[in-house]
Symmetry: C2
Subunit: 161 residues, 2 copies
DNA sequence: GATGCAAATGCAAACCATTTGCATTTGCGG
DNA sequence: CCGCAAATGCAAATGGTTTGCATTTGCATC
């Protein structure tokens, strides 16, 4: 595009990624901004809080956050995760590289892992479930992160798997 | 009561699998029985209903089901799953072989798949997150089962991944 | 067997993330 | 600049899960 002397970074990003058929509102843009700058999946509450923090002068409703997360999900630019360790859903933009996380059962931090094992199972599914059309998947690894593994006083591991 | 000659199958199973330190109550045994005879992960509501169906003469409280599912989980004989497609948790006994499921986004049926890809990633995690102690994992495949894939009128796929 | 006490149960109310109804505002095509 | 469908804010509803408390029950002990 002819643009660009240095041209605004975020507006361009928005323009490049904004899903077709989704109306651009102030609230949606801010929610997108929060998600975009997040380093890990966020809960609706975290997103709502972030909105208040950065633009405390403007108003936001919790329901708007939920409705727009759903809109983003339907538009295909967002993934909703539900982890066994959390009692609420986590949301993450989908544009960039596909990732899974290792979740610490103690501190609840999420560490991205680089590999995705879908290829390894795809063939098997073809065989075991002929006709099943795979559209997505979810994987989490549970355990204890280096920081929490040391302190051996682990409270009732509740080992999954 | 006096033992049988033919020694009942289920009592033996119970005895063999019952976790140490968990008090045996009528309700817990019945909950175990329901889980044991289930062919797929069940919700708390399904378990509760099954209790009423089989032993309608006796009383059961919803809270007892939840409390005992938690007790079983802590005792390490049960896994709690939260799928993105369901709005409630699903529970499954852990004794038998470790399994994952392919979940149909339309009819919500769960089809067990035979492979578990953990081995494939274990090495990678060692490398990427040295010191992370893996204790478990969760994986689901989403898509459309043969029955639902045919009927092409798929409502808003909401593709995960 | 009978007894006692901690643990388990039933019931109802509390919780809390998420959803929904409705009146008002806003984006955006004409 | 207008008009209307779509989006928002607010508050109330929803629904799965948890919790407080009085009562019952498993089980170890006598």
């Amino acid at each position: 595009m002819e643009k660009k002397i240095h041209a605004s970074s975020f507006d361009e990003i928005i323009d490049r990624h904004w899903p077709l058929g989704v109306k651009k509102t102030r609230q949606r843009i801010e929610i997108y901004r929060v998600l975009y700058s997040a380093k890990e999946p966020l809960s609706a509450a975290q997103i709502f809080q972030a909105l208040l923090d950065t633009k405390s002068s403007e108003s936001y409703a919790f329901s708007t956050v939920y409705r727009n997360l759903l809109a983003f999900e339907k538009a295909g630019i967002l993934v909703k995760n539900i982890l066994s360790t959390e009692d609420n859903a986590l949301y993450e933009l989908k544009n960039e590289t596909h990732r899974h996380y290792a979740v610490c059962l103690k501190c609840h931090r999420k560490f991205p892992i680089s590999t995705c094992p879908l290829h390894h199972i795809a063939g098997d599914i073809e065989k075991t479930l002929p006709g099943f059309k795979v559209t997505g998947h979810q994987l989490e690894i549970y355990g204890y992160c280096p920081d929490c593994a040391d302190i051996s006083a682990e409270p009732a591991p509740v080992s999954l798997s």
